[in-house]
């Protein structure tokens, strides 16, 4: 080039305005890209957009009664999705959590009303039963080697049927609750306004710590990412798988009790329970957990659940037909899936472009 005479090194040493602007823009770009390639980056942005949209387009969305109404829309899914994330990182899926959610409060009722156990013991007993269901799922998947989709589909229907049988398809009053007054047990386990919120935050935080900072978490990723390799390194893959199924079922049972206490009635409604199953899976998927395993976060699923709650509450307040909820939920899942696939390729650097 004619301009460059070779005698102007100082110009290179000190970048002029445009060059500096470029560098800054590149920096901002890479920062934006780094945020977006955070597993939770995309869902945070989408959730914020949904939040702002409903906050600006309706004047009731930001009221405290509306935000309180949002809580039960997301807290149960956040907890159930937290357990599902562990199973999905294992490259498995638990379809029975809706049925466990349905079944456990009836065991709680039976143990309290028929067996006569005090509330807390009856709850612990019911949770143990829920975890036994998880143990069964886990052992069939890991030891017998049947796919988790089929296994948990089987437990889904078995438990749904069993719930109808033992309940005679009639609803009961949840033990420890009354229409008149919310007692201490009910306050703590679902009846208090913020009870489910606290449980959701606490469980999500603890499980995210477990996932990131403990052997349990590392082995969960390892078993989902490379099952043979993890086994060769010495990881007891069957134990890891089974443990996660047990935890997932235990959490689903716990949410079942929380919701039964919140509603004060325990209702045998299998189709409603399956909606809850799919919303919990949606929260995990929207939150960046990949079905093919090896990747996912509890925090992402938590935000995914918040997104579901905002969508449902916002559409309710706007007075839009409930039909739109599933439409937008579906679109959100498809977008999230596309984005997560892209992000995971960028993260692992395996051929994007």
């Amino acid at each position: 080039m004619a301009v460059a005479s070779g005698s102007t090194p100082p110009a290179e040493a000190e970048p002029k305005g445009p060059a500096k602007g470029w560098a800054q823009r590149a920096g901002a770009l890479s920062l934006a890209q780094r945020f977006l390639t955070l597993r939770e980056g995309s869902i945070i942005i989408v959730t914020l957009i949904a939040f702002l949209y409903f906050a600006l387009s309706t004047n009731k969305f930001l009221t405290s009664s509306s935000l309180k109404a949002l809580l039960p829309y997301f807290a149960p899914f956040a907890i159930m999705a937290a357990g599902q994330v562990f199973v999905m990182i294992n490259a498995e899926i638990d379809l029975s959590i809706g049925a466990v959610y349905l079944f456990t409060p009836f065991i709680f009722y039976k143990l309290n009303a028929n067996v006569g156990l005090p509330l807390v013991l009856a709850m612990i007993g019911a949770l143990i039963v829920a975890m036994l269901v998880g143990l069964f799922n886990g052992l069939v998947v890991s030891v017998v080697g049947i796919s988790s989709f089929v296994t948990t589909l089987g437990t889904l229907f078995t438990l749904s049927g069993l719930t109808l049988i033992i309940s005679h398809a009639t609803q009961v009053t949840t033990p420890g609750t009354s229409v008149v007054k919310v007692g201490t047990f009910a306050q703590i386990f679902g009846g208090g306004t913020y009870s489910e919120l606290f449980w959701a935050i606490g469980i999500a935080l603890v499980l995210q710590l477990v996932l990131t900072f403990t052997r349990w978490g590392i082995y969960t990723v390892a078993v989902g990412g490379n099952r043979l390799g993890a086994a060769e390194a010495g990881v007891r893959t069957k134990l890891v798988l089974t443990r996660n199924f047990v935890m997932c079922a235990g959490l689903a049972g716990f949410v079942g009790i929380l919701e039964a206490v919140r509603a004060a009635t325990t209702t045998p409604d299998p189709s409603g329970a399956n909606v809850i199953l799919f919303q919990a899976i949606s929260a995990a998927v929207i939150g960046g957990t990949l079905l093919q395993g090896g990747s996912g976060t509890v925090i992402g699923a938590f935000i995914g659940a918040i997104f579901l709650g905002i969508l449902q509450d916002g559409l309710n307040i706007k007075g839009v037909s409930a039909n739109y909820f599933y439409f937008w939920l579906g679109i959100a899942i498809l977008i999230a899936m596309a984005f997560n696939t892209y992000v995971s390729r960028v993260r692992t650097g395996s051929g994007h472009g």
Binding site: R215, I218, V221, A230, V235, G349
Partner: protein, 283 residues
């Protein structure tokens, strides 16, 4: 694998020596109808580097996986440092002092370099069972420096690394433990010439230290003569040849392998002729 019997006179019988660190007698292993390891007799002296050669499906990897506790043999006996050795698991074998670099490397793509380095040997911070990541990062850097292979960032998922870098991590992970016997299943696969040379250097250095004994599965005869004290050839699930590398040559190994092919071809032709005859009789 063809049904070719190795000539009986060539099968290596059990050998013993006082300084054997590992001895394997009449070990066999089948997976359903497939016999992977028919009858293996093998010994390894302290500080020795043994090269294992053999065709695909000859049983090399199965033998390694038996030695490292991943598979349990159907029969036979093993001794490690003079004691009977029957590992119940990979962990059990590792606690006995046998550690392995697998052919598939046993790396988890989604985990970072240091997480893979410490997979199933994580350092834990007390009293809460949290991972001591800073210690693992530091020791990973040290261990990788020792291999001489340049891995600029240890916080990235190993999926981003090249085949050679991944191999280096798998090798560094194994040799940085305190194993007495190291098994390497094709350590030079997926490696560029330069990286391969670094791994061979590393093995030479380990050999010079004399602390560990090594069994390596290799494909390249040149590497065998470069790195190994002794070479064993597995054919059809038995050890069909076993000699110090100083007393054999590429030509001799080649001849044995070519002979095997010839036998396999003859067997196949005989079988074809048999089938043809049966068809003739039927018609």
């Amino acid at each position: 694998m063809a049904d070719v019997q190795v000539p009986q006179e060539r099968i290596v019988g059990p050998q013993t020596a006082d300084d054997d660190v590992l001895r394997v007698e009449h070990v066999r292993k089948s997976f359903g109808p497939i016999t992977a390891v028919r009858d293996i007799n093998l010994h390894l002296r302290k500080g020795e580097v043994l090269g294992l050669l053999g065709d695909n499906g000859a049983g090399k990897s199965t033998l390694i996986k038996i030695l490292c506790g991943f598979h349990r043999p159907d029969g036979g006996t093993m001794w490690l440092k003079g004691e009977p050795y029957a590992p119940k698991s990979v962990l059990d074998a590792r606690q006995h002092g046998i550690d392995t670099v697998y052919q598939d490397l046993a790396l988890v793509d989604q985990l970072t370099v240091y997480q893979n380095m410490f997979l199933f040997r994580e350092k834990i911070r007390k009293p809460l069972p949290f991972l001591a990541n800073h210690i693992m990062r530091r020791e990973t850097r040290k261990a990788l420096e020792a291999t001489g292979i340049n891995i600029p960032r240890i916080d990235v998922p190993v999926a981003r690394l090249s085949g050679g870098q991944r191999q280096a991590i798998a090798v560094a992970r194994t040799i940085s433990g305190d194993a007495d016997v190291i098994l390497l299943d094709e350590p030079l696969a997926a490696m560029g010439a330069k990286e391969g040379a670094l791994i061979l250097d590393l093995i030479a250095r380990l050999k010079a230290e004399g602390r560990v004994s090594i069994i390596m599965i290799l494909h390249n005869y040149i590497h065998v003569f470069q790195a190994c004290d002794r070479v064993s050839l597995i054919q059809d699930g038995v050890i069909a040849f076993d000699r110090p590398t100083a007393e054999t040559s590429v030509e001799e190994l080649n001849e044995i392998v070519v002979e095997e092919y010839r036998r396999a071809r003859q067997a196949a032709m005989a079988e074809e002729a048999g089938v043809a005859r049966a068809e003739d009789n039927g018609a």
